[in-house]
């Protein structure tokens, strides 16, 4: 497929899902009511629903979905592995431990500026742990070792979260549990701003690294011979991808598989040139999560399905197909 065609297609999908997200929700509003709320806004309740609930929630979905997909594509290039993804590598888990720790200690509340930084520290710790284990056998990273390392590190971090929650006050537990399952329900303009401040500059840096990432994806030794600063690119890209993941976790909890599904689909359509893959992954991730959130809100309305459930329902089958294929290749 042509890159421009795909970009247009994703842009249209995103626009439609954003509009649908504003239009539909558990409180039934007519199109004219929504339109009135956006412009003049005579009915205060309608205004609140549209401007304070739906709109920030959608924008948060755009930022978090785009960020997670971009982080996934970056990890995949660096590890030369289509299965690498923030959730599967245990990086989201690490971020959640960082965030839960400061929440439980009462140093910060949900939506505070320091929450992403604490999540970032946890995400970096996860990266160091997973990489130490995965590279212990030698230079080459075995797919199976990497996945096992991710699973084990993730298990360790969820045990940490469970432990912290068990010694926390009931009030903390209540506010944390919903968030950690992965949800855009806590969205506010404050959390949108927070996600944007971390995600947007980080996304720009990663997309600017597209060309060296192209080289890294064919091998570090070759990238070195073609003139890339291998260690520098690796360090920068890993840290920035961890930061995006952490920002996403801090505002929306742990949402898995976005970083796996979206880059995979885009690669199938336009190949793996990261100059196109990275920006289109952001666009695709934004559309995917916005749609997933729409389904989460509407499928069993007024009951809401956790958004992580939807992304996992889509992501797990794709993960298994990819795993089968990559094991058959080794």
């Amino acid at each position: 497929m042509n890159r421009l065609t795909l970009a247009t297609l994703l842009g249209v999908t995103l626009t439609i899902s954003v509009l649908a997200g504003v239009r539909f929700g558990s409180v039934p509003l007519t199109t004219s009511q929504v339109f009135a709320a956006l412009t003049a806004g005579d009915v205060e309740m309608h205004r609140d629903i549209v401007l304070q609930l739906r709109l920030p929630r959608i924008l948060l979905g755009v930022l978090v979905g785009g960020g997670l997909a971009l982080a996934g594509a970056t990890f995949q290039a660096l590890l030369r592995n289509p299965l690498a993804e923030p959730y599967i590598l245990g990086i989201s888990g690490g971020a959640s431990v960082g965030a839960v720790t400061v929440l439980a200690l009462g140093w910060a509340g949900l939506g505070s500026w320091s929450l992403p930084l604490a999540a970032f520290a946890g995400a970096l710790l996860a990266i160091v742990l997973v990489f130490r284990v995965a590279t212990a056998t030698g230079q080459a990273m075995d797919v199976r070792v990497l996945l096992l390392a991710g699973v084990v590190v993730a298990a360790f971090f969820s045990a940490c979260v469970a432990f912290i929650l068990s010694v926390s006050s009931a009030r903390t537990v209540q506010s944390v549990v919903l968030w950690i399952m992965g949800s855009l329900a806590n969205a506010s303009w404050q959390s949108v701003l927070l996600a944007a401040v971390y995600t947007v500059p980080a996304a720009v840096v990663l997309i600017a690294l597209a060309r060296p990432l192209n080289l890294m994806a064919i091998g570090e030794e070759t990238a070195h011979y073609l003139g890339a600063d291998v260690e520098g690119v690796k360090r920068t890209a890993l840290v920035i991808a961890a930061l995006i993941t952490a920002a996403g976790v801090a505002v929306a909890g742990v949402i898995g598989f976005v970083g796996l599904v979206v880059p995979h689909a885009i690669r199938l359509l336009i190949g793996s040139d990261h100059r196109a893959l990275l920006p289109l992954s952001f666009l695709g991730g934004a559309a995917f999560l916005t749609l997933a959130d729409l389904i989460a809100r509407l499928a069993l309305a007024p009951t809401e399905i956790p958004i992580g459930v939807i992304t996992a329902f889509v992501g797990v089958p794709i993960f298994l197909v990819l795993l089968r294929r990559s094991l058959a290749g080794t």
Binding site: Q76, R80, N81, P82, A208, R211, P212, N214, L215, A217, I218, G219, E221, T222, H224, Y225, L226, G227, A228, D229, R267, G271, S272, D273
Partner: protein
């Protein structure tokens, strides 16, 4: 370009003995230089060290009398095209995209390909006889085709030297000869070419000089006729050989002997 190793020692972490144990060698400008030796003798390690992809434990590698680590990475990639022994592609990539990567050191961070870049890529594709595969996915190519694509990528760098680690490994006669002829032509055109190989006979026919490594040390260095003696080869490969002159080419030819043969 001139490549040089001075008392080069490389020891991998945890290894019993150094992979390279005090190598000193010089590759003169415009020379087709073959690096030979048994498995594990340090050929690939030497290549990586010469290219600055490995930090030496002691000693150093020099390109045009500058320590390789002091070269700017992109400047070095414009001067020297190197092809590692193997690459595993995790994602689909077209031949055109792969060869286009050779232009990386020539392009600014945001600049797109210009006419000069496209021309360099087209020339490289033609020289390696892979133009017909331009739109194909590299992972669908045969081993020989893939190898030629990787050499085309190195040529697209428009380098003044080529460094190749076993470029003809697992290739049939036609493709092996085609690549060696290409390297010979490149050297005749003034490029310095270093090639790591297992093929003693072919190296003798194509190379100006050769280096024979044994357990990380230099066993012999010189012209093919100087290096390829029965005594030297039998010692290095721990196997009796007979060296004769090939009547067709006039270069040395090695025949490993069967048990009991003399």
């Amino acid at each position: 370009m001139r490549f040089e190793a001075r008392d080069l020692v490389v020891r991998y972490p945890g290894a019993q003995r150094p992979a390279l144990d005090g190598i000193s060698m010089t590759v003169p400008d415009g020379c087709l230089y073959a690096v030979l030796g048994p498995n594990g003798s340090g050929k690939s390690t030497l290549m990586r060290s010469l290219m600055g992809a490995l930090e030496p434990t002691s000693g150093g590698s020099y390109i045009d009398d500058r320590e390789v680590g002091t070269w700017d990475r992109r400047e070095l990639a414009r001067a020297v095209g190197a092809v590692a022994q193997s690459e595993t592609l995790a994602f689909p990539l077209t031949v055109r995209e792969m060869v286009g990567m050779g232009r990386y050191p020539h392009l600014g961070p945001l600049a797109g390909e210009g006419d000069a870049d496209r021309e360099a890529i087209a020339t490289a594709l033609a020289e390696c006889d892979v133009t017909e595969f331009t739109a194909r996915d590299v992972t669908t190519l045969s081993g020989g085709e893939r190898q030629r694509v990787r050499i085309a990528r190195a040529l697209a760098q428009q380098p003044r030297a080529l460094v190749l680690d076993e470029p003809t490994n697992s290739l049939d006669i036609r493709h092996e000869m085609a690549i060696l002829e290409l390297l010979r032509r490149s050297a005749d055109a003034g490029l310095t070419v270093i090639v790591v190989t297992h093929g003693l006979d072919l190296a003798a026919r194509f190379a100006d000089r050769m280096l024979l490594l044994s357990q990380g040390t230099v066993a012999a260095e010189g012209t093919p006729a100087e290096v390829m003696t029965e005594q030297t080869l039998a010692g290095v490969y721990s196997w009796p050989v007979s060296v004769t002159t090939d009547p067709a080419t006039g270069t040395p030819r090695v025949t490993p002997l069967r048990d009991g043969q003399t």
